[in-house]
Symmetry: C2
Subunit: 134 residues, 2 copies
DNA sequence: TTTCGATATGTGATGTTATTACATTAGTCA
DNA sequence: TGACTAATGTAATAACATCACATATCGAAA
């Protein structure tokens, strides 16, 4: 499979739920939203999420146990660096960005410590500009 | 309270469990270790963990739902920057470090985006030097 | 076209992590 | 003492995730 996927029925349903949401969703929230489409069990959601993560179409936010559609439309890969997420704890808005300096510093640390990195999580929690101004 | 704490009985028990462990522990693993000391319920552990987190004596590893004693002995605060963790997925070893450049870049992003940061998670998962060599 | 293997799906049960709600106990300080 | 706060005990429940097993779908090889 290439980076542009032919999604299965369940994968499409889960991806569309995330794509139309205005923020991250938990697996169980997705399940509830898709009950009308025949979803009955958590595993139907988790299996689709796993594939979508593989394909790079969504991200998992470790610090809030939730999932979000990738905000880089039509380019479902981040080959050039680690991704950071800024998560608003009030409205749920998630901003995704990549910073080469951060990526480089992490690589320097892992290289000089012999650590073989497989996945890196960078999540900033706080208040977005809108919510912080209120 | 200052940064050097007089811990309560439960807080001491939980902290000591983490301090003597060779890696991160889940709340329920701590609970099981402390049953002999009279612990019966998860809340006894979670309440102690919350306080120890407040005091900066332990850290929560969001990506593995586990807790680890701070590896900076006798200086339970990290006032000068964000902390990153390198977590070995084979042996569980956790290395804690702080990088001013990373901290600075995150601050630059939040400042220029009006984002009011409250807590930042940086977790690198992979294989430590020992496990990666095997 | 039949057979086979790989992938996807359906479903119930179970495992793991964390919180709510309420009662009780222990220290602190007018 | 009485009033207040912090800490603790306990049961129940909520929230998140996986296991085990059965069934279905699809494409390639024979
Ligand atoms: Zn993305
Ligand atoms: Zn917001
Ligand atoms: Zn620390
Ligand atoms: Zn290791």
């Amino acid at each position: 499979m290439t980076s542009t996927q032919e999604l299965t029925k369940n994968q499409s349903l889960v991806f569309n739920a995330l794509a139309r949401a205005d923020g991250p969703l938990s697996a169980y929230t997705i399940l509830d939203q898709l009950r009308g489409d025949g979803f009955r069990a958590p595993l139907q959601v988790y299996r689709a999420l796993d594939k979508l993560l593989d394909y790079g179409m969504i991200h998992r936010l470790e610090s809030i146990n939730a999932f979000v559609a990738c905000s880089h439309p039509h380019s479902h890969n981040h080959s050039h660096g680690m991704i950071a997420f800024a998560i608003c704890e009030k409205c749920g808005q998630v901003s995704e960005f990549s910073d080469d300096v951060i990526t480089g510093r992490v690589r320097e640390w892992t290289n000089s410590n012999g650590f073989k990195q497989s996945k890196t999580t960078i999540e900033i929690r706080g208040l977005c500009a809108t919510c912080g101004a209120a």
